[in-house]
Symmetry: C2
Subunit: 332 residues, 2 copies
DNA sequence: GTGAAAGCGCTAACAG
DNA sequence: CTGTTAGCGCTTTCAC
């Protein structure tokens, strides 16, 4: 089936050791032999068997990426960044969608351990680091994605979600909104919880009334559901802040379907600033996160941890989100 | 570092063979031993080393997915489908973004061969099957993604792009548009070329004048560029058909920035029907492709080829795109 | 500068 | 039913 190092050796009339040397320390083999062996390698189309190599080395050139859902635009961009960062260093990446299910996460972690990945970029749906410690114990580096690590056991690359929630409410409040609906997902998602903290903080400071609407999933269908809930509120809020753009887009659709004027009657503010925020029916104001950059940075950090070994210092990198003002928000 | 089968054996006071049997053929080992061994496995947190296993078996439980760019929404959905399809059968997937660069493709193919993937889902930027034949020669199944395979060497899952191009122009022509700009990417991309064939065919049949605007990349920035080109045309077309939604969104933005009324002055029709087409500034009419379904189907097909071996019959599955009418297109 | 051989962790064939 | 062992393809001493 596949041509092995031994085949090359036989064909080039050298020993396997020499062929291996040609591959890994070409400088120590005689020029003549080198060329001859390289010739035969090309001829036979030999590609080393990664398993065997990695079995020997004890580690691979692969990493795992566990995200809730790549088709969530924020994570799409993150994934793209991760892939670029990994590729630059010649690593391949396993894509894992957890769908925010702890069970799927568990399964994937097992798969990744089996595949002996060098490290994993992990955006856990739930905070429970036992599996992370386990991976670490197995020599697999873990860096947290989009979530800060308390303690200092791992690297993390995240966005300051508390700050994000805060500036959102401050902005709306400055615009004159003092009755705001906060549409968010399950509190078990740390980012959501933190944005919520920021929201609460700013609300308190700014004397803003917050109506919390919690939905189980953060997609646009759930946003439409949230819109219904908003319309049934005893008093209609003058602004809606959503935990992500998908929700916001759904809310917008739902509100507009009910003939509510956006932003005249209700302002809508999203979070993530996905590519399409600007091409929404009403271009969506949003809190922007540097998703691609987060991905690249995370991959970089993870791989330098993998390669530095002991000397590595864990880092907590935190990006600052910022407001992007478009047409879905308006002064009251 | 890592606990091996041998450690388990020693700890449970059985031989390595027995532990292996517990893992792979539990039915042949005595209940008592079984339980004891399983206990120790859990205790020690043993996870088999995939490399060793795969080295032995000669094949892995991984597949590769090579797409131009996951952050292209069509491929995002495809990727999600692939991942689900693979996961269902307990396969892990390597994500590879080629950026439509043959060179990057080549590199990735090498990586995937080294990782001994079982199969690859490939959306080549350029039609050149030598690498595909090579992979096949190495026992790696290849199924083409979003591109039909002539001959019958591989499976393929694609969309009938000629048909898609045709119905687009027929639709616009029925709406009364006889002067249409066709905004497309490089002809080296087969899907683009085929949509173009459909366009030309329908144009000829329907007596429609087509102005082709070719851009190097199919993203929305290039769409804005295309909009400029359209505005400089000696006579302004009454409709624009774009090779994908990203381009269409860009064109829309560019046209609207120049105060052109969409759809009153110019109708815009996209291709792909991405999630956000409906939340564009003017909800975008588009030719819809079942991207997620394509991904799932492709993974399924690939993996059944991998697992059936000789008895496998190559299949060419072709999905039919369909028109989704929204507000960016209008009767003349 | 090159070859021979041990061994990475696992499975499967064969003895017991 | 369980233990022993060869060998998957590769790297890496250690002799030559």
């Amino acid at each position: 089936m596949s041509v092995s190092l031994r085949d090359v050796a036989k064909s080039a009339k050298v020993s396997v050791g020499t062929v291996s040397n040609v591959l890994n320390r070409p400088e120590i083999v005689a020029e003549k032999t080198l060329n001859r062996v390289r010739e035969t390698i090309k001829e036979l189309g030999f590609v080393p068997n990664g398993f065997a190599r990695q079995l020997r080395f004890g580690n691979s050139r692969t990493i795992g990426l566990i995200v809730p859902d790549v088709s969530n635009p924020f994570f799409t961009e993150v994934a793209r960044g991760v892939e670029d960062g990994a590729n630059k260093r010649d690593y391949a990446v396993f894509l894992c969608n957890s769908d925010e299910s702890v069970q799927k996460e568990e399964r994937y972690i097992n798969v990744l351990i089996e595949q002996q990945v060098r490290g994993v970029l992990f955006s856990p749906s739930d905070i429970k680091s036992n599996r992370m410690e386990e991976m670490k114990g197995r020599g697999i580096s873990v860096t947290l994605l989009d979530q800060e690590q308390k303690g200092n056991n791992h690297c993390s690359v995240s966005v300051d979600d508390i700050y994000g929630g805060r500036i959102a409410i401050e902005y709306l409040s400055d615009l004159g909104h003092h009755d705001i609906a906060w549409v968010c997902g399950p509190e078990s998602i740390p980012q959501v919880a933190e944005r919520g903290i920021g929201v609460a903080k700013a609300a308190k400071a700014g004397n803003v009334k917050i109506e919390t609407i919690r939905v189980p999933l953060m997609n646009s269908a759930q946003g439409e559901e949230a819109a219904k809930a908003i319309l049934e509120l005893p008093t209609l809020p003058t602004a809606v802040f959503c935990a992500n753009d998908l929700l916001a887009l759904g809310v917008m659709r739902g509100l507009m379907a009910a003939k509510v004027k956006v932003p005249d009657q209700i302002s809508i503010l999203g979070y993530d600033d996905i590519k399409f925020a600007s091409s929404a029916a009403i271009p969506l104001s949003s809190i922007s996160q540097p998703a691609y950059q987060i991905g690249v940075t995370a991959a970089d950090l993870l791989l330098s941890e993998c390669e530095d070994g002991e000397s590595h210092q864990h880092q907590q990198i935190k990006f600052q989100p910022k407001l992007v003002e478009r047409e879905s928000t308006k002064k009251r």
